[in-house]
């Protein structure tokens, strides 16, 4: 089956805006269209990701041009943007369309992750009565399970945050561009052990978009020069694991999606030049090194300590600054990390460019759970 390519992509700088999701989606969509010199009239279908409102895609079209094409609104927790991207990819793979648009937008405000959503139900509020279902606690436990198995330290988890904040100083589109020394990370307010405030992703508003095209369309448009091939696209739901009702298991679902994506792409972790993975909390990034096969089992702490995942290292992870510093506007996140990897594969990432980048991976996890992994290659 013919390949599908990303031909245009962009994101707004993440921040806090006086705007609604359709307005933010429209900005990113127009930027992505400009990136490949096309217009909304060229889009044959639109896939829109947002976690909080309805009909964001159609409301976006009202702002950029109501062409009458199919618009599908996607919601899949933190995997929402990547799921929209994947639907746009599937539509071309299926042969229905030649050019599609994926867009993700979220207005988080300051409400952040500490709001009851899909919280355990009972006759009285369950949070704080029978443990915690908050995101910081869920991902705190993810880190503690790794500590239990391998003796990973709170300092190693904190070092993830130091690294990603450092990376964001090279990314003008990150919410923050500020160094956070280890003492500052470990000394900031404890939210859910071992994650401190600076080890939690940043609640920001944002949007990102990507234009996808069939091989025939890319050639017809003469856009192969900056095109990026989608070599692998995987989406998994969480298979049953024995503790998953007491403790969300984002490891197994990630491993399943990663294996599917590697198999489809015909590459392995050793072929990757950069990874944008779901560092919703510092603990998560470290554990995902093993889930994605970037290092061996139990080696994530040493892999981090070696500097391999830091800018200039063998396999830099979250060069954008990640969710920890670039920010995490849920529905936009999965497309923003596609943008980041595409930008490196095009050699256009400026001060944070991964030299010689030819193959990159994106990964997001939506708790509940959904995991999307994409493997992208310079065309």
């Amino acid at each position: 089956m013919a390949d599908v390519y990303v031909i245009g992509t962009d994101m707004i700088r993440f921040g806090r805006f006086d705007a609604n999701p359709p307005q933010l989606a429209a900005q990113a969509a127009l930027m992505a269209l400009d990136d490949c010199g096309l217009t909304i009239r060229d889009m044959e279908a639109v896939y829109s990701g947002n976690c909080s409102e309805t009909m964001v895609g159609q409301r976006m079209m009202q702002l950029v041009g109501q062409t009458g094409v199919p618009v599908v609104n996607v919601i899949n927790a933190c995997a929402t943007g990547a799921t929209a991207f994947r639907e746009a990819w599937i539509a071309i793979k299926a042969g229905l369309y030649d050019i599609t648009l994926a867009v993700g937008a979220e207005v988080m405000g300051k409400k952040g992750m500490l709001v009851p959503k899909n919280a355990a139900t009972g006759p009285v509020p369950q949070e704080g009565l029978v443990g915690s279902g908050t995101m910081p606690a869920v991902f705190g436990k993810m880190g503690m399970e790794h500590a239990r198995k391998y003796g990973t330290t709170a300092r190693q988890f904190a070092q993830i945050s130091v690294k990603n904040h450092h990376h964001s100083t090279f990314n003008p589109k990150a919410m923050y561009q500020k160094e956070t020394p280890i003492e500052e990370v470990m000394g900031s307010e404890m939210i859910a052990y071992p994650n401190t405030k600076l080890m939690c992703s940043v609640n920001v508003d944002g949007s990102a978009a990507a234009v996808l095209a069939s091989e025939a369309a890319v050639k017809r448009l003469g856009l192969m020069g900056r095109a990026v091939r989608v070599r692998g696209s995987a989406l998994a739901s969480d298979p049953y694991t024995p503790r998953n009702f007491a403790m969300a298991d984002v490891n197994t679902v990630t491993r399943l999606a990663a294996k599917t994506a590697y198999d489809m792409a015909g590459v392995g972790p050793e072929d990757l030049h950069l990874v944008e993975l779901h560092d919703c909390f510092a603990t998560a990034e470290l554990v995902h090194y093993e889930n994605l096969g970037l290092c061996g089992e139990g080696e994530a702490g040493a892999f981090l300590d070696s500097g391999a995942t830091t800018i200039g290292g063998r396999l830099p992870v979250n060069l954008s600054g990640g969710l920890l510093s670039k920010g995490h506007p849920l529905g936009a996140t999965g497309i923003a990390n596609i943008y980041e990897v595409v930008t490196h594969l095009r050699g256009e990432a400026g001060a944070r460019q991964r030299e010689g980048a030819r193959i990159g991976m994106t990964h997001v996890v939506g708790l509940g759970s959904a995991c999307a992994v994409h493997i992208l290659e310079k065309a």
Partner: protein, 143 residues
């Protein structure tokens, strides 16, 4: 069974009462694959068998598998508290508050023996009804 609190309703769905009103943890076990679950289930999430679940009483002893200490939670929730994950003896994994011990990572050991106890949840609904909850406490193992 540890404590009986008459007149209080179950604060959590997996908490049920014997005929003598003493509370217990109610679970299910799949006749086909043998997997054990906290709370009632119609079909098996592990093997997808339909209508093959036996209702069982779960053990109130087990070991601490994992935890986090929660310092920030939803508005109005009292912090800090230990959110614990316990593997129950005989099957089933339970999430709950680990109490009656210091809220301090230095005091918490993976695999420490624990026990589930039933106590007044300390909350009432708008109708003024009180509730029984379950809590996890450290357990001294028999010599």
């Amino acid at each position: 069974m540890t404590e009986t609190i008459d007149g209080l309703k179950a604060a959590v769905p997996c908490l049920a009462f014997h005929e003598d009103h003493s509370p217990y943890l109610r679970g299910t076990r799949c006749k086909v694959c043998g997997e054990t679950f906290v709370d009632l289930r119609e079909n098996c999430p592990a093997c997808a068998s339909r209508g093959q679940m036996d209702t069982i009483e779960l053990a109130t002893t087990g070991r601490l598998y994992n935890y986090s200490i929660v310092y920030r939670s939803f508005p109005g929730v009292k912090v800090p508290f230990i959110s614990a994950v316990v593997d129950l003896d005989g099957g089933g994994t339970l999430k709950g508050n680990l109490v009656d011990m210091p809220v301090d990572p230095a005091a918490i050991a993976f695999d420490m023996p624990v026990e589930v106890v039933f106590r007044d949840a300390g909350i009432a609904n708008p109708a003024g009804e009180g509730f029984t909850g379950y809590f996890i406490i450290p357990r001294k193992e028999a010599e």
